[in-house]
Amino acid sequence: MKLKANIATSENGFIFNPATGDSFTSNTIAAEILTCLKAGESEMEIKQKILDRYEVELCQLERDWDDYMLQLKEANLLDL
């Protein structure tokens, strides 16, 4: 999964799509994931990072990940 190259993000979770003018906010973990996506990290790398850093079961992470990716896709933020 890749974020579109022109998507602007900030440390506090603000997301801006300059092509549409749409703005979004994300919570801390979502912002962290976005930072990793922007840095070009793979899905596996990001998930492993989260598993190492936070107390979360893999199955829960998988469910939340899929949900988040769907939201990013619907918001037209992913490079498909």
Partner: protein, 355 residues
């Protein structure tokens, strides 16, 4: 005889601007003036040209140095020329920027005569003005490969039923110069027809409704087929009158290219605004082409391309390079402000035609 300012001499540039209304259907004048102030700094004198005594920008003395009333467009070019000659003897205007659709015909007709007395303009031709007129827009789109909603020009309310059968509801009923109403049934269509006819006269334009995202593009073209500046804006808040009350600059090559194609196809000269509807299939429909800067033009300064300043440079014969870089994510949020003036100012403008 042609009179040109000595561009090498540091002198105050005097620029006349129309469109000083800033009510719920604001004219571009105030935005143009703010852009000029931002671009030219202190060596600038702004002369307001007003039709009505309650055009708000008249009373913003920090922005407008002096205002003169001018005759309505319906009074004709001779009345306008005479008034501008009187003003020119006093003010020595260098550049005049008209900002109302309804007045452009007259200013274009006087272009040469204005230059003879030292007033520079940068205007399209009458043919260009007519080609993008609402009544001709569909033909313009067809001729140049632009997506334009189907529309018809009508001169009588009795034609509305036929139009409704042809185009279906919702429909957009549009005035000759300004205003548009989206109607859901024939009763609303008749009401909108009569209201617009009373205000702007005939004909009335009946246009197919396109559902989508409203995007406007402010542009400046050099008259040789080149767009020198293009700034797209997505409307974020739309008033009941369909005006953008907040908007944000966006980057989209399709929109930029559309504006460039318009400049190329029309050889437009001067400021323009494309009113676009992007539908869910990503098609870009040109809903209207406005033959002057939009009311939100000050946003072009914030985005990094001061279009009114560039237009003045063009009018004065200075070379202007095309600008491509600008900042997306710059927003304007319009507000209403009560400006307090003394009745004596209002009376002076009413009685003497200048303030």
């Amino acid at each position: 005889m042609s009179v040109s300012p000595n561009l090498n001499q540091t002198k105050t540039l005097t620029i006349a601007v129309t469109g000083l209304n800033a009510n719920d259907n604001p004219g571009p004048g105030l935005g143009v003036i703010r852009a000029l102030r931002a671009g030219f700094g202190e060596n600038l004198r702004i002369i307001g040209l007003a039709y009505e005594t309650l055009e708000p920008a008249i009373y913003l003395s920090d922005l407008v140095n002096k205002t003169y009333r001018i005759p309505y467009p319906t009074a004709g070019t001779e009345a306008l020329k005479e008034r501008l000659q009187q003003i020119q003897e006093i003010e020595h205007i260098d550049v005049l920027i008209p900002n109302f659709d309804a007045e452009l015909f007259n200013f274009i007709k006087l272009e040469r005569e204005l230059l003879d007395i030292g007033i520079h303009t940068f205007l399209p031709t009458h043919q260009q003005l007519a080609a993008r007129d609402k009544v001709n827009l569909q033909a313009f789109g067809n001729n140049h490969g632009f997506d334009v909603p189907a529309s018809e020009t009508i001169f009588s309310a009795s034609e509305l039923d036929q139009m409704a059968d042809k185009l279906g509801f919702p429909l957009v009923i549009k005035g000759k110069f300004y205003e548009a109403t989206v109607v859901q049934h024939i009763g609303e269509a008749y009401k909108a027809f009569y209201k617009l006819q009373a205000k702007w006269g005939l004909p009335i334009i009946v246009q197919q409704f396109i559902k989508g995202t409203e995007i406007n593009i402010a542009g400046l073209a050099d008259g040789n087929g080149n767009a020198l500046s293009v700034i797209p804006m997505r409307k974020m808040y739309i008033t009941e009158k369909g005006k953008a009350w907040a908007g944000i600059t966006i980057t989209d090559e399709k929109l930029i290219n559309l504006a460039r194609e318009f400049a190329k196809a029309s050889h437009w000269k001067g400021g323009f605004e494309l009113e676009i509807m992007r539908d869910d299939k990503d098609a870009l429909y040109i809903m209207e082409v406005n033959p002057r800067f939009p009311a939100w033009i000050y946003l072009s300064v914030a985005a990094g391309q001061n279009q009114p300043q560039l237009l003045v440079d063009l009018a004065l014969g200075k070379p202007v390079q095309a600008l491509t870089a600008y900042t997306a994510g710059k927003m304007f949020v319009r507000y209403a402000w009560d400006n307090i003036i003394d009745v004596a100012e209002f009376q002076k403008l009413s009685a003497f035609g200048e303030l």
